[in-house]
């Protein structure tokens, strides 16, 4: 027998103190209520018999004291939480990995797969042996332990109740690593995975030496439709119009007639019926969508009005960023091609000044220096240099080159998007020598000729040539390149605006200078998120529309963004009856051994309570008085 609660010394101290107090009360004379009687000899004659049994009376009084001391001793031992020595350390140590991924929200099990898994987890806990201990872990993209490695069933059951599903995938590898860490050094380790089996095999395989892995499958049906992609973009040269892309998939085993509807700001915009073969993915464009100010939502269901087993992937959200007129300053002695390119975007406020008039009053999102490179003013925004002189250029202007073109360019760069530069001919210019952190957007075989970077927290783009000395200005790539460059500085983007994807770390741009941000989740809860390098960083768990707030009162900036499940693997909800871990099939768990769980302290308290009731009864019946 060992004490796992309060240490022996503390128990002895507590018992000693309480026993001393009890003794004191017994030693102190009872203050009795005086009552007058007419003839005390009558009472004496009655009590004389009791005097004869005074010894017994005293004995009964001492019996009462002894009973009190026994009660105290029982309570003291109960505080010590005694356990049988054999039951300590010899039982199993079980880690319950409860799958909380998006697929566990499927309703083929009533009410959901997750609730079915929790019920089975409770069965496992109730089947634990007297000396078994268990740890409950919520297995999402990041495993979260919800209890300690405990043998207290109440704690474990409460932890199971706290498991919540998220719109992320389950990361079995991380969960197994956590379980292996928890079981390191513990005897008879066992991992019980409660899941629908939609778990990618962990790579590399976790080290589970000496740990038994068992699998409890949940789920019945794999019938599911999913929106696997949903995005929206503005037309590059008409930003008032939108184009929407929705991609859907039929993950069931039968051909399905589905209804895909598009909603804008809470009102239906378009709806379409589609036939989707089993296992097929289908993309659908909604072109020339207008009138929507902010939110777009795609909804998917069967054409007969029924829903599939997993509602989480039947809706997708996207937000159109607000359009804002960008302010552009052009410092040039005169450049018709540049002016023409900027005229193509009606949402630009262009201010043109001579180099001698720089800097003019006002704040700008971007400044284009045409052949000049004066010291930039504070409010000049992002800087675009066209053929800058040697002095003043943020990138060193190196040797002069002639008769060259774009031999390589960064096709993924936002600045060069949609721009065909392969056959651009440039008469003359200079090679550039970027620094370490700079990015070469385009280069000839003689050196970089288009470089982007940041100096003193100010972004810049440098052209190593005068566009008028090339045929670039005659090509469609010229206005695209100029507008892309301006848009990259003014934070407007004409590209597909894909929503964030759940199960990833989101880095959301925030207003310049913001240090703290508050994120409002789709369910309305709020939480503070850290800001690093001008971006709010958070882990996305839920699909829906988020609001990110920075600053207070006048400086308050609210940014909205959407997040979608968009995970084909999580949408494949066909339940797996078996699970392979480290190349081996995980069997079903076994019931615990070692008899029922025994909480000796509870037994002691029950005995103490019973004795107390007996003492109370006998005292008030004047038996032990």
């Amino acid at each position: 027998m060992m004490l796992t609660g309060l240490p022996l010394g503390t128990l002895l101290g507590l018992f000693g103190g309480a026993a001393a107090l009890t003794l004191l009360f017994y030693v102190l004379r009872l203050r009795r209520r005086p009552v007058a009687v007419p003839f005390s000899p009558l009472w004496h004659s009655v009590l004389g018999d009791r005097d004869a049994s005074r010894l017994f009376s005293r004995l009964r009084r001492w019996l009462s004291l002894l009973l009190q001391l026994v009660l105290l001793a029982l309570l003291a031992v109960a505080l010590g939480d005694p356990r049988a020595t054999g039951s300590l350390g010899s039982g199993r140590n079980v880690v319950l990995l409860v799958d909380a991924s998006a697929s566990m929200q499927a309703t083929d099990e009533k009410p959901t797969r997750l609730e079915a898994a929790k019920a089975k987890a409770r069965e496992v806990v109730q089947g634990l042996g007297g000396s078994d201990r268990a740890l409950v872990v919520q297995m999402g993209d990041v495993p979260v332990p919800l209890s300690t490695l405990s043998d207290a069933q109440s704690e474990l059951v409460a932890a199971i109740a706290r498991v919540k599903a998220s719109d992320t995938r389950a990361n079995l590898g991380r969960a197994l690593d956590l379980a292996a860490d928890a079981l390191r050094g513990a005897p008879h380790g066992e991992i019980v995975i409660l899941s629908d089996g939609a778990l990618p095999e962990p790579s590399p395989a976790p080290e589970l030496k000496g740990v038994a892995v068992r699998f409890v499958p949940v789920g019945k049906s794999g019938k599911n439709l999913a929106i696997t992609a949903f995005s929206v973009r503005r037309y590059p040269l008409d930003k008032s119009r939108l184009e929407v892309l929705a991609e859907l998939a039929n993950l069931g085993s039968e051909r399905a007639e589905v209804e895909l509807s598009l909603w804008g700001d809470g009102s239906i915009i378009d709806s379409e019926r589609l036939q989707v073969d089993p296992g097929a993915r289908l993309s659908r464009f909604f072109s020339d969508v207008g009138g929507t100010r902010r939110g777009l939502e795609a909804r998917l269901r069967y054409a007969d009005g029924t829903n599939d087993a997993l509602p989480a992937d039947d809706r997708a959200y996207a937000l159109v960023p607000e359009r804002r007129r960008a302010r552009v300053l052009v410092v040039t002695p005169g450049n018709t091609y540049l002016e023409a390119a900027l005229l193509l975007d009606e949402y630009l406020d262009v201010t043109e000044v001579k180099p001698s008039a720089y800097p003019p009053p006002g704040r700008f999102d971007a400044t284009i220096f045409d052949g000049v490179a004066p010291p930039p003013a504070t409010d000049s925004g992002g800087l675009i240099y066209l053929n800058p002189p040697v002095s003043g250029s943020p990138v060193k202007v190196a040797k002069a080159i002639s008769g060259f073109g774009f031999d390589t360019w960064d096709k993924k760069s936002r600045v060069l998007r949609f721009a065909a530069l392969g056959d651009v001919q440039i008469a003359s210019g200079h090679a550039l020598e970027p620094l370490g952190g700079d990015k070469i957007l385009g280069a000839s075989d003689e050196g970089p000729i288009l470089v982007a970077g940041t100096r003193m927290s100010r972004p810049f783009i440098v052209f190593g040539f005068d566009p008028r000395q090339s045929d670039l200005v005659l090509r469609p790539a010229w206005p695209l390149l100029v507008l892309n460059a301006v848009d990259s500085f003014s934070d407007t983007d004409a590209s597909y605006l894909s929503a964030y994807r759940t199960g990833e770390v989101w880095r959301v741009p925030v207003a310049e200078g913001a240090r703290d941000a508050e994120l409002t989740l789709p369910d309305g809860t709020r939480r503070a998120v850290p800001v690093q390098d001008g971006r709010a960083v958070t882990f996305g768990e839920r699909a829906g529309v988020y609001r990110l707030t920075t600053g207070v009162e006048e400086t308050r900036v609210v940014t909205e963004f959407a997040a979608n499940l968009a995970d084909l693997d999580e949408s494949r909800i066909l339940p797996q009856k078996t699970l392979k871990v480290a190349g081996q099939l995980a069997p079903l768990p076994e019931p615990g051994k070692g008899g029922a769980r025994r909480d000796i302290w509870a037994l002691l308290v029950a005995v103490a309570l019973t004795l107390s009731i007996v003492e109370w009864f006998t005292y008030h019946r004047r038996i032990t008085v």
Binding site: P34, V35, A36, V37, F39, L42, W43, V46, L47, V625
Partner: protein, 310 residues
């Protein structure tokens, strides 16, 4: 209402103490009825016909004694002298009216509780005294505890009943009980012997026998009325108590249990039985008077039982 008042025990409002009318009109009407009843019980007897043990100048011969100088010559029995040559004087039983003494226990135990015992004792004394006065007996009332604190001088005639009332109303219970000592003083103060009606609860630490024996040995004819309050045999007590004797102040710690109360009832009953047996064995008339019984019923019981009036 203040918060502290919530914890205060509610007190029953009390008006000015109501004086108990011991001898009200109803009481006096009952006395008249009792007097009539007593006449029926003793019908045919003449007043003052009771023979006393005293030898004197009555008409009924009792005995002879030797002549002594100074005796009335008319009382010499000349027939005896002629036959035996001795001078003997004829003795007759002297006829005189009876003296009745009412000895009312005035100890503190009589006033215990609500004082029902003491009130009943005074009513009984008053009623029996009225019967006695109505029969032209000499009535004396004496209060006793461990001494003789109060005494109503001997009186006779119905018209003195109000004097008796006033005396009884003036009695106050108090002091310890010692009937032996008190009745010795009483006997010493009253040379004329007669009927001594002792009305008491007999809660005498020295023993109830002493008082009765004193009366017997001093030549009185004792008549015992034992006042019994059955509530004292079954007090509403429970738990750990300190018992205090209302007369002696004697204290005793006790834990009252139902069993103990049962034994107390038994002891109380046995005590009453002992008194009755003692009186019966000594041919002393005994009457147990329950305080809850109307006094007139008790008086009638006393009259019917006999011994009170000869």
């Amino acid at each position: 209402m203040g918060i502290l008042e919530l914890f205060q025990r509610k007190k029953t409002p009390r008006g000015p103490a109501k004086r108990v009318e011991l001898f009200d009109d109803e009481f006096q009407r009952k006395l008249e009825m009792l007097a009539l009843v007593s006449r029926r019980v003793f019908a045919g007897r003449l007043r003052a016909e009771r023979r006393s043990k005293k030898k004197g100048s009555g008409v009924e011969f009792a005995d002879h004694r030797d002549y002594a100088p100074g005796d009335d010559f008319r009382s010499i029995d000349w027939n005896v002298y002629r036959r035996f040559g001795r001078l003997l004087v004829r003795l007759y039983e002297e006829e005189e009216d009876l003296s009745i003494y009412f000895l009312v226990d005035c100890s503190a135990s009589m006033g215990f509780g609500d004082g029902k015992k003491f009130d009943q004792a005074r009513r009984l004394a008053a009623a029996l005294a009225y019967v006695g006065l109505a029969n032209l007996d000499r009535v004396t009332i004496v209060g006793v505890n461990d001494a003789v604190p109060e005494r109503l001088p001997t009186t006779r005639g119905k018209g003195r009943i109000f004097k008796v009332f006033r005396f009884l109303e003036g009695l106050e219970p108090g002091g310890p009980t010692d009937l032996g000592e008190a009745l010795r003083k009483f006997a010493a103060q009253h040379k004329r012997r007669g009927l001594a009606v002792l009305i008491s609860d007999f809660y005498d630490p020295a023993g109830f026998e002493h008082g009765i024996n004193v009366l017997r040995f001093e030549g009185f004819e004792p008549y015992v009325i034992h006042l019994v309050d059955k509530g004292e045999a079954a007090p509403a007590l429970d738990g750990d108590l300190l018992l205090v004797d209302c007369e002696t102040g004697d204290e005793r710690e006790v834990t009252v249990t139902p069993g103990l109360l049962g034994r107390l009832r038994t002891a109380f009953s046995e005590y009453q039985t002992r008194i009755e047996h003692f009186c019966t064995s000594k041919r002393v008339p005994y009457l147990a008077a329950d305080v809850s019984t109307p006094f007139d019923e008790t008086v009638l019981s006393a009259l019917r039982r006999g011994g009170f009036l000869k």
